[in-house]
Symmetry: C2
Amino acid sequence: MTTPESQPVPSTATSHPLRILITGSAGFVGSHLVERFLNEGHTVIGVDNYISGQVSNTDLFRDHPRFTFIEADVSHGIPYTGDKLDWVMHFASPASPPHYQQFPVETLMVGAQGTQNGLELAHAHGAGFFLASTSEVYGDPHVHPQPETYWGNVNPIGVRSCYDEAKRYAEAITMAYHRSRGVNTRIIRIFNTYGPRMRPDDGRVITNFVHQALRGEPLTVYGDGSQTRSFQYIDDLVEGISRLMMVKYHEPVNLGNPDEFTMLELVKNIERLVQVSLNYTLSPLPLDDPRQRRPDINIASTKLSWRPTMSLNDGLSIIILQYKNPTK
Amino acid sequence: MTTPESQPVPSTATSHPLRILITGSAGFVGSHLVERFLNEGHTVIGVDNYISGQVSNTDLFRDHPRFTFIEADVSHGIPYTGDKLDWVMHFASPASPPHYQQFPVETLMVGAQGTQNGLELAHAHGAGFFLASTSEVYGDPHVHPQPETYWGNVNPIGVRSCYDEAKRYAEAITMAYHRSRGVNTRIIRIFNTYGPRMRPDDGRVITNFVHQALRGEPLTVYGDGSQTRSFQYIDDLVEGISRLMMVKYHEPVNLGNPDEFTMLELVKNIERLVQVSLNYTLSPLPLDDPRQRRPDINIASTKLSWRPTMSLNDGLSIIILQYKNPTK
């Protein structure tokens, strides 16, 4: 039995310099990966079409000598012609319900053609392929918390299926390339994650609540507020990704924070931090919205000696500060 | 309450002549659709790349004045440049586990790119789009029998996921084109179907059993033979498809025979018909093989006044006769 304390932790921080192509580099998670890998001395090629990514996230690194950027829709091909890649990391996709429901066909395509284009590029370069999948593959789960062995409860024809089924397909084709073409693949299932550089109009609950609180508006709570989510700070996710790259494990790995909160508990947390009494209004639950979601992180804990270290309070404090002072 | 007896049944048999493009026209189901539509006076364009279809199924209609054939892989585009289509019917895909597991990436592609190419063609022609989905979207079901509202229990990363997830994706993108681009879509979930023109190496249980029985070999029974399936004769399926084309209903419709048999009961049925005492050997259950499968056909019954009319005994008699006398 290995424990986080007893074994050295391999990660990209201690790796020789790598050449890493990241699709969705101008997105929330993608931009944090770019930052981490550049800081560690790696070379990064970012690719994005700005369907949901932000130009400001590219601008952050535009002058960095080891960063290059390709504006492209990876569903139609990844026009990379440079030196041999070590990794292709596929993080491109609209990811919040309002965004992917606005672009259902594009979301389906980036999960299918986009993933396959990434797999083909990785195969051609003998590179690793890293898929950003999602806890949404579990749908509205009947098993709680969700281990990676749970097959999920997803409505294949619902309004969320353009995202959920695209990601399930992305996992299936990643496993197919691994099994039948020997590509060195990784799959993570990302649970709710928050942090700096989320789009203000992201539409997910932490962004919504913090912005409403800071504007002095009542918070919009869906359903009766008893549904639960677990919230992971972006740095914890990036650390898990970095470790998984260095471990040969090809089945999906949950990366998320198992601390679970109801929506009303989240309101209370934010209320404490902004030190203002908050009102909220109740709205109907969106269609097929999951009632609860919490990762079983035994595999990440065992294989990667990983667990989240940022508490919700500390993470919220950071983003509240950032939203109050956006230029800092 | 409508009953099959009390209402007129719209179907393609009574329609004005249509121009219908069928992908997978050289496959088992596809070839029966071609035959039916030609017999009804329609014009048919068949498309197949023979990855699992058979040239002999194209040869059946090659000289027909209202049949044309395009050899193409629809995952890379449908090179049709003819007159305005009324229907694009997407029936291309490897469909038996040995075939799709031999071609996992191609199976995934025909579910994603193939379906999308069909939807785009239908959209361009203002045609209807008809998707052949499958009972496999229910996976190893926890609900029995399976109504269309059941979300399924599918392993997204298993060896069958190249087929199951491709079809779930195909349903999702079909609904996305219907909702966001107004395409006039249909989705059927086909349960186990058998009949003349199945490939002898199809690998599914009825073909396997009948061929083994006729060769005097012991029948290969997987597991302990207690798992169940329901078997639909091809003509019943084709009748259901024809009726659904004439009814505006865009959600998935189960088409299958609700009479359920264990594998050992199937052995006994065949034994009676071939009038030879049959031996069988037990083999381990394939990975992720569903334990049971039976359609709830309330929607087809209500919306289409449809129910299967061919008994298993009569259907088996037909194919046993055909296999004994393949030239007839």
